[in-house]
């Protein structure tokens, strides 16, 4: 057989979150639970297409004036403007001062990639910091975008199961000038641990002093506390303090539009004259990557954000989702405490958003998967949305068993 150009290509390591999900799908155990992938589930354990989304899709389909023409390279402007206002607040001085620009992106990942390409290739930054731990893809994205120096800043304190604030401040204080600092706007993935407002102020102090560049990853606005303004506090604070910064937004979770890839990249500048050249460079980056973004998701979100009645309806949906998660957090903690599971479990309710860093070890996670067919990540991260009133006892039992019987 003729030899091939590609015979040297090695099998790539599987990406954990998808491998774990596959293990769940393959399992035939009737009590199986998927606590790995980050998608919302109803109390019946089913995906939830938001009623307001279905309603808007019907409207769009019935609208014969709509077609499938190309969006501009930087996307649907009505969407981007509304999304930026959602993040900063419509009356934020940065917005009213014309110092905010935003472009549509391929969800949060796409926003981060465009941001990284711009910061790396146009501004020639080469250093980025991310929290330890962070969403697995942060590192890959910046690496692919050409950053040569990617380092962690301390974040998760396994001992107290909370924020290692002093460690974080120390590491940021040692970061070289122009380092890009990736910050989770709220509902930190994977830990669920967010800084307090006082802590954010001190973080801002260091970033300002060291002339670092803040990049906010906002994938859960509204989804964390149920309140859009609450969840945007850190981003707004930084903008108000006069930072130049970027914020990426994902509408996968808070709109349940996972597979439509709808996101936004927001930039806050000091000098409005920079906006036009900056957009021209972003245009070149997007053009050489995918030409222009998909319109379906953008239309849906734009319709909702720009219509007061639909906007209210959507806020109701967010409260439903975040409310159910908070219920499950309470329930899980109560059960673990009732079972007398060794250790403290208040972090389950102190943490916020979709994920919880339970503190379970990789060995314990494996035990839970093997014995109970409950699938979580080896980091101990669980997706709270995978918990329902129907399986919460089973999950609590499994965690209790693992903590009691599996030690390192």
């Amino acid at each position: 057989m003729a030899s091939s150009r590609f015979c040297e290509v090695q099998q790539a390591p599987p990406i954990e979150v998808f491998a774990v999900s596959k293990a769940f799908t393959d399992s035939t155990n009737e009590k199986k639970v998927n606590l790995s992938v980050g998608a919302y589930r109803t109390d019946e354990g089913k995906p939830w297409v938001l009623p307001v989304v279905r309603k808007v899709e019907q409207e769009l389909a019935a609208d014969n004036t709509l077609n499938h023409e190309y969006l501009p390279i930087l996307g649907l402007e009505a969407f981007s403007t509304a999304a930026a206002k959602m993040l900063l607040g419509a009356t934020h001085p940065a917005i009213t001062g014309g110092r905010v620009t935003a472009v549509q992106t391929l969800s949060g990942t796409g926003g981060l990639r465009v941001a990284a390409e711009f910061l790396g290739r146009v501004l020639k930054y080469n250093t980025a910091y991310h929290s330890a731990p962070t969403w697995g893809n942060h590192n890959l994205i910046f690496k692919q975008a050409g950053f040569t120096n990617i380092a962690p800043y301390r974040y998760w304190d396994g001992g107290k199961r909370g924020l290692n604030f002093d460690g974080m401040i120390e590491d940021l204080s040692n970061a070289p000038e122009n380092s890009v600092i990736i910050l989770h706007a709220c509902a930190h993935n994977p830990t669920g641990v967010d800084p307090t407002q006082e802590q954010w102020k001190k973080i801002a102090d260091v970033i300002e002093k060291r002339k670092l560049f803040p990049l906010f990853d906002s994938a859960y606005q509204g989804f964390a506390s149920g309140d859009l303004d609450n969840d945007a506090w850190a981003v707004r604070y930084f903008a108000e303090r006069g930072f130049e910064m970027m914020g990426t937004q994902s509408f996968s979770k808070n709109f349940g539009l996972y597979n439509e890839r709808i996101g936004n990249l927001m930039v806050v500048v000091k000098d409005t004259a920079c906006i036009v050249p900056m957009k021209s460079q972003l245009t070149l980056l997007v053009r050489g990557s995918y030409s222009n973004p998909p319109c379906h998701g953008a239309r849906i979100v734009s319709r909702v954000l720009n219509d007061p009645a639909l906007f209210e309806e959507w806020k109701g949906c967010i409260r439903t989702m975040s409310g159910r998660i908070i219920e499950m957090r309470k329930g899980l903690r109560e059960r673990l405490e009732k079972l007398g599971t060794p250790g403290t479990w208040d972090h389950i309710t102190a943490q916020i958003g979709m994920f919880s860093f339970t503190g379970l070890t990789a060995a314990q996670a494996k035990h839970i998967a093997d014995k109970y067919h409950i699938f979580l990540l080896s980091s101990g991260r669980i997706n709270m949305c995978g918990i329902t009133t129907g399986n919460i006892d089973h999950v609590a039992e499994a965690i209790n068993d693992a903590v009691c019987n599996i030690t390192n």
């Binding site: 297409v49 890959l140 050249p277």
Partner: protein
């Protein structure tokens, strides 16, 4: 807009001491060093067109199909597919990194034939991409990392402008082989063969499968046969860009001749496909990237690496467009109506019939219609071919003595008219006809109501 004092000072410093400028700039803003990027040639044309107040203005710049009233055309097969999808109330869960599996299967099946041995043997890696651009970018990214030959892509001269940055952004070089002959406004077969024979062995060569953009000039089948031989002799890896299958001749099999011939000749090709034009799904970004591998094991390894590259781009692709494509291609009736619609774009003399007539007596709730799509595609192709004929005929009627045969010989959405940049400028300034400087017109932008205006204008600037 008046310069702020800060910028005025910056400009002063910039003109005197460049290094000081950068220091001062950094002190004020992160972005002050950002230079203005070059404007996009094609979008610039559309912007100028929008500003023009002449009621007779024509936009022949951007490559998007228009119906005979000059309006965007949503294919009947697409509307039907969307209705069905909506009624199924499916969820919006993440697609896998590689995309919608049904879509991938049907897409490569459309290109090669559903029962092609490469597919039945599982030799293909096919992933969903953000339309053609995204598919090409997945390809360029994969090749820049894993292609064992020279990290250079050989492109036809000329080629779609965006091919260059797609490869340059992944740090690959670009070179050209002769393709278009400006003397004949046709294919430079001898020149292409000569240049390809000189390409270093084991290199990467890009080919437009059909309806070459920007020239509209395609090799004949015999030319493709010869190209295949020479490319094989040089041991080159062919990367086909197929953005117009069905849209060129109105026949999906005919338009795939080169791709299928190369496979039959034993080439293990790379292929990017776009459904922007042939399904009118421009803004939904439906495309696919494929590599034909040696065996199943290699295909699995290659797929695993491709997924690693997609993840840090955008994690997983958008569903909506891919679902429409899969629905159409999966349902025989919709499929053939689509084929007819596409053909109708090329030959509008075919009877255009309305949905109600077609639907009569059929139960569409489950049978969604790949045959409707084939009809739609034929419709589009038919209309374009008619506009080509009319334009040529009208130019002759105007009394032009130039040779305009290339207008009807070229194929697909675009026509390289042969007009010089000066003539183009005159055409725009004096007649409000907008096109790119290279003389390329989008035939899709011509309607039966303005083809004579265009012919008159073209004659005025070329006589």
């Amino acid at each position: 807009m008046a310069l702020t004092p800060v910028r005025t000072i910056n400009n002063l410093i910039k003109n005197t001491t460049p290094s000081l400028y950068h220091v001062a700039a950094r002190a004020n803003s992160w972005w002050s060093g950002v230079e203005m990027g070059p404007p996009d040639a094609i979008l610039g044309v559309t912007e100028a067109f929008k500003r023009d107040t002449n009621p007779k203005k024509m936009n022949l710049g951007v490559g998007a199909y228009r119906d005979d009233s000059g309006k965007p055309f949503v294919l009947p097969s697409v509307r039907k597919a969307e209705e069905l999808i909506l009624s199924q109330k499916l969820d919006k869960e993440y697609l896998p990194i590689s995309g919608n599996a049904e879509f991938c299967k049907k897409a490569i099946g459309l290109a090669l034939g559903d029962d092609h041995p490469a597919l039945t043997d599982g030799l293909n890696v096919t992933v969903q991409g953000i339309s053609g651009t995204g598919a090409l970018r997945i390809g360029s990214t994969f090749l820049s990392k894993f292609f064992p030959g020279p990290k250079t892509v050989w492109l036809p001269a000329p080629t779609w402008g965006n091919h260059v940055p797609i490869f340059k952004h992944v740090n690959m070089d670009v070179q050209q082989y002769r393709y278009y002959d400006p003397n004949t406004c046709g294919f430079n077969f001898t020149g292409a063969l000569e240049d390809i024979r000189k390409i270093p062995e084991n290199s990467l060569i890009m080919l437009h499968a059909c309806a070459h953009n920007p020239t509209g000039v395609d090799p004949k089948d015999e030319h493709w046969d010869e190209l295949s031989k020479v490319i094989k002799e040089r041991k080159l890896l062919p990367f086909f860009d197929m953005a117009y299958q069905g849209f060129a001749s109105g026949d999906v099999a005919k338009d795939a001749y080169a791709v299928r011939k190369f496979l039959a000749d034993g080439h293990k090709i790379c292929l990017s496909q776009s459904f922007s034009k042939n399904m009118g799904l421009y803004g939904e970004r439906a495309g696919a990237f494929s590599i034909i591998c040696n065996d199943k094991d290699e295909a699995a390894r290659v797929l695993s690496q491709v997924k690693i590259l997609i993840r840090p781009l955008y994690s997983n692709p958008p569903l909506h467009g891919s679902r429409i494509v899969a629905t159409i291609l999966n349902t025989p009736e919709l499929h053939s109506i689509w084929l007819n619609d596409v053909k109708g774009i090329i030959f509008p003399s075919s009877k255009q019939f309305n949905m109600a007539e077609r639907c009569e007596g059929h139960n569409f709730s489950l049978f969604l219609n790949s045959s409707i799509w084939l009809n739609d595609v034929k419709g589009m192709a038919d209309r374009i071919i008619a506009m080509r004929s009319k334009l040529k005929a009208n130019l002759e009627k105007e009394g032009s003595v130039r040779n305009w045969t290339h207008i009807t010989e070229q194929i697909g959405m675009f026509c390289f008219t042969g007009m010089t940049p000066q003539q183009v400028e005159k055409l725009t300034k004096e007649h409000s006809v907008y096109l790119t400087k290279d003389g390329r017109i989008s035939v899709a932008g011509i309607a039966s109501t303005n083809v004579d205006y265009l012919a008159h204008a073209m004659h005025q600037v070329t006589k």
